[in-house]
Symmetry: D3
Subunit: 254 residues, 6 copies
């Protein structure tokens, strides 16, 4: 099977890290294709940048050539997840959604570790949006910018281990999630220092996308996840308009 991993950030170096993490995680026989946002912020970190990323994700999918059996959205709090899921006839999973649902199968309540006060509320809102607020033990923020953190790995490890400890001992977290696409690949190396599972959204996302592809649930024809009704589109690039029209309700479809 082939999973299309969509990076809503416009930095292709990050796409490469996401893809590498995804390939390590994938089952034998799972291929990872990738698409990167063509417009917007280098690293999405503000609400306005995330709104733009939502559109960029749709366009990246529209522009992607080649088939895929499922989509994994790989950026922060899963922008446009509902939009893509409701549009495409294949399974669609978000990296933060995947980490949260996986955490539910590993312990009582989970803790989130984020990397800036500006992005923390978005993660809390994602937890609430997925209806999982009662399983959130705590959300704590580390104030080292990830960029610098990469340069000073030891300090980052220390900082994460300290925050992890507070989440476990004071807040009662039984599973931890290192939030955000920029943290992809980090949990594996940190796991030995943390006494509970430390999840990576991309790794969880690959696992759950594979599971959903194999499940093969049908596309609904009722509700907000049914294909769009025929509509009139203006001002859209050709690929996006075609993506919308191809997936719209129609006599020819079913």
């Amino acid at each position: 099977m082939r999973i299309l991993l969509v990076n809503g950030n416009t930095t292709s170096a990050m796409t490469e890290t996401l893809v590498a993490t995804a390939r390590d995680a994938a089952a034998p026989g799972t291929e990872i294709a990738a698409a990167t946002g063509a417009f917007g912020a280098a690293i999405v970190s503000h609400r306005a940048e995330e709104a733009i990323a939502g559109h960029a994700i749709l366009k990246a999918i529209a522009d992607h050539e080649g088939a895929y059996d499922g989509v994994l959205i790989g950026v922060s709090t899963d922008p446009a997840l509902g939009a893509v899921r409701a549009l495409l006839p294949v399974p669609v999973v978000g990296m933060t959604e995947a980490a949260l649902l996986t955490a539910c199968m590993l312990g009582a309540r989970f803790g989130l570790i984020t990397f800036s006060l500006a992005s923390a509320p978005g993660y809390r809102e994602a937890v609430e949006r997925y209806g999982l607020a009662s399983r959130l033990a705590g959300l704590r923020t580390i104030d080292i910018p990830l960029a610098r953190a990469y340069a000073e790995r030891e300090k980052l490890t220390e900082a994460i281990v300290e925050v992890a400890d507070a989440l476990i001992e004071a807040d009662g977290a039984e599973v931890l999630i290192l939030a955000g696409a920029a943290a992809a690949g980090l949990p594996a190396g940190l796991q030995p220092h943390v006494p509970v599972p430390l999840l990576d959204g991309i790794v969880c996302g690959v696992r759950l996308t594979e599971a959903m592809i194999r499940l093969g649930a049908p596309t609904p024809s009722r509700g907000s996840h049914a294909p769009p009704a025929a509509n009139r589109y203006v001002g859209l690039d050709e690929a996006t308009a075609r993506l919308l029209r191809e997936n719209a309700e129609s006599p020819g479809r079913s």
Copy 2:
């Protein structure tokens, strides 16, 4: 004061109706300027169309010439509300948000009337996103497409009165909201047929935007509603990129 009313749909006839409704509602001295989405769906009605509308709203604001003291987002479930609010130094209100908060000051629990099963979940999610789920008495859907409904006004009135009655008598709603931009202007005419307040998001939105402009709360410098940190943008049209940069954190700003 001047309010910029942003229609995230790309139909300018709808913008005109929204503006007319807003002007009727505005206090003496309040001017209503308007902007319409330049790309996307004629009438936003699917999750994918709403994701695109989020970007279109930002671009419509970026393209708008002339000053304004506050922004009212006028489309369905307030796409990009957090994005615009977190970006601009002026108050920003969403039409559905405004209707919900106004309802809170008029009765115990409110009821929502929507016009398709496909859009209903989005309204419920908006109620939850604003943290008001415990004040939702019920959400009921009328299955007459609004387009046809306009042609057969009497039938529409009958259908709304019937649904309103069920929301009040069976669900315990004490205030009602006719959801969506497409319903702007309708509540005034229907009110005499309904025994509790029937709210129009645009009317409530104008009132609350005026109130927020007069309040003059400062722009936060911490958290997810603080200006974006300096970032690198690619592939954006010039106006949107400028809007992001102008409102970013900077030594020159404060």
Copy 3:
């Protein structure tokens, strides 16, 4: 338009501060009339005193001579708010309710600053009563009695800034509310020391009462906010009994 500001405390010096704060906040053309509780505690600060204040507020309104277009209840956690709202044919807003709803339009989650452990639960209950518990980032208490605090302004500022910092950095609050009528007028002076909006219930209350007056929603004839059914009253002073009877359901009314 004229707003009747009702102080449920029996201290008229406090009424004067509330009125001064309200007048500063009011739009041109808005007049502020005032009424003070005739019986009960000098400064309401215990549950039993608040129960009495509920009645005192109704009586203060009954005793008030002169017309008004809306009512703003100005004491702690809005005692009798539902009672007054359900009784009068004009808009009624509570100062804490107003601060909370305003906060919802300014950031993701809000923090409350209260001035005693004895009153803190009442504010938390108000947040829950308004259905906004999921938007409460935290509630923290300063243990300086406000009376002494007024004498030592610098210490108060320091204490508030410290608590504000904890609410923002540790709890994730994006807007703050200085709770209670006794704090009216303080936020304006403190705002420059706090990096997010710091709200004053009276200021927010004036803004939202003005907005609700302009909105002009009709009085419901169904539900718990409809006028009282004819009832038999005993032992009430004449003004209160008349207020109840005048606003009761009747053939002559509609």
Copy 4:
């Protein structure tokens, strides 16, 4: 032991019914003393009447001569329950609170039967105030005024049995509560017609007040249920002022 049953309605005939129901329910050795509201509505049924009843309950307790070991508040949605509980050094229980907590020990979720659309929201708010919203299966309203209902007992029985059936079969209620003081005494006769426990707030209230008296928990000295700090009272009748002062924090108390 002696329980003071306080009727917040001003109708002494109702007090007699409440007392008779309470005496039937009481354990051997439990005496029931009674107090009736001296001012306010004959039968509390509107939010404004309930606000006044809160004060009337405090005054009725203040006016009561003779000792008691606990207090049962016997009117609708337990007005002033927190106030009385926080003031007196003896256990205080509300009739609706008692019915709800008892229901929690009898089944998974409970259903409420109320007698007017105007009072229903108050009961729902009580459930939420006690933090029990997730155990509410449903709340349904019978539209026969209780006054007429008493005259036509058979019809009332039919109506209640019908509503009970809907709460059980459609809403999933496993215990039922006949809400309100006016319904005191009715459940016993109706129980044989209903396949799950049908609770009477006064009966449950007597049981739980007895239990709390025997428990003998100490009065807290911290928080919102600690005695009031010394305060200045104006305009209160002598008995109420004395009640407040006697129960205030003081060096002589502990």
Copy 5:
């Protein structure tokens, strides 16, 4: 009346402590009979041990000779409470459930004190299962194993007083619960050191079981608390099988 106190731990010394605590708490005329788990852990402290305790409790009841009017389950987070309640025709109460419901009648929000990080989540889940999450101010854990704690009483008192203080001053708890069967009997001695009520689940449990016995609610014939439908059982010891069959729905029962 006679209450059967069931200890789901297999340590009979603990049963003796529970019984002694229960007898101290019981009203004159209440007898306490006891049953101890015949299989499982000496002191239940892990989820797997609790699952086994659920069965052991049913078997202990099945094996018990002699009549009883109500059952009090006395172990940690009330394993098998729903099972026993749904099976027996007499009232059944859990010790943690009883403490939580009693706390609701004593203050606004309660705090829980637990004795290991491993058991804390179970108590939080019990609070949620009873639908009382919004009344939980905080749950804090003391890291002294109770066994050692008994040897060093002074240290235990200090530790509990410190945790109690944090729950009251920082978390806003107004009532405290010392969680778990192993703590039965401790609160009475500690109460003088704590400024709010400190509850003992066994003491509260005896009080509420007495209240429920006197209430005499009928056994439901609908829902999940109705007797089991006739079923085929295999591999069960004779007493348990008989208990199930005796309490099953049958023509002879009513």
Copy 6:
């Protein structure tokens, strides 16, 4: 990989159906081993039977010879799921948990279809236990006993389609779950008649257990899902006692 499917019912014919359904669903290379409860009810359908099933599941695992990489619990509302998960060093998933988490990745809110009023509350409690109450659109019950239903397949199909329709059109469900082990295998045949995905807990369970096995999260050493502390066990059969001891914390383990 090998999944151990544990049927908590004692009917081995049902185990065969579960295994057949699981094998159809499994990925190539996934083997399904099975274990059946050795004691308890033929088909678990009452709370007391479920409490016993919890123990029976642990014993079935203890008695199972042969290795496995993960466990899928296949009976009603996942009894003992936490117990088994916290005990074993391999992933453990419950069939109802799996269906609910899968539903979260397919639509906004889900609906549950159950087969008796007696079992419905247990499913609702499972949804709440997993923290997913806000995603439950509705739970509706069909009153055909499954046994008879199997004989009259056409009627069953009609009944399910009718209930599905109500869940979708009136309650707003976007995904449906046919609840319970007894329904395993049915959804595949019914799917063509239902316009949204209709989930089978066993099928979802196999998918998610596979995903969790591949994920390979480590066993936590802190919290309620860490191995049991050394304890003393009495009265247990040898296999269960060994299972507990083997998985307990120990110097030799890590």
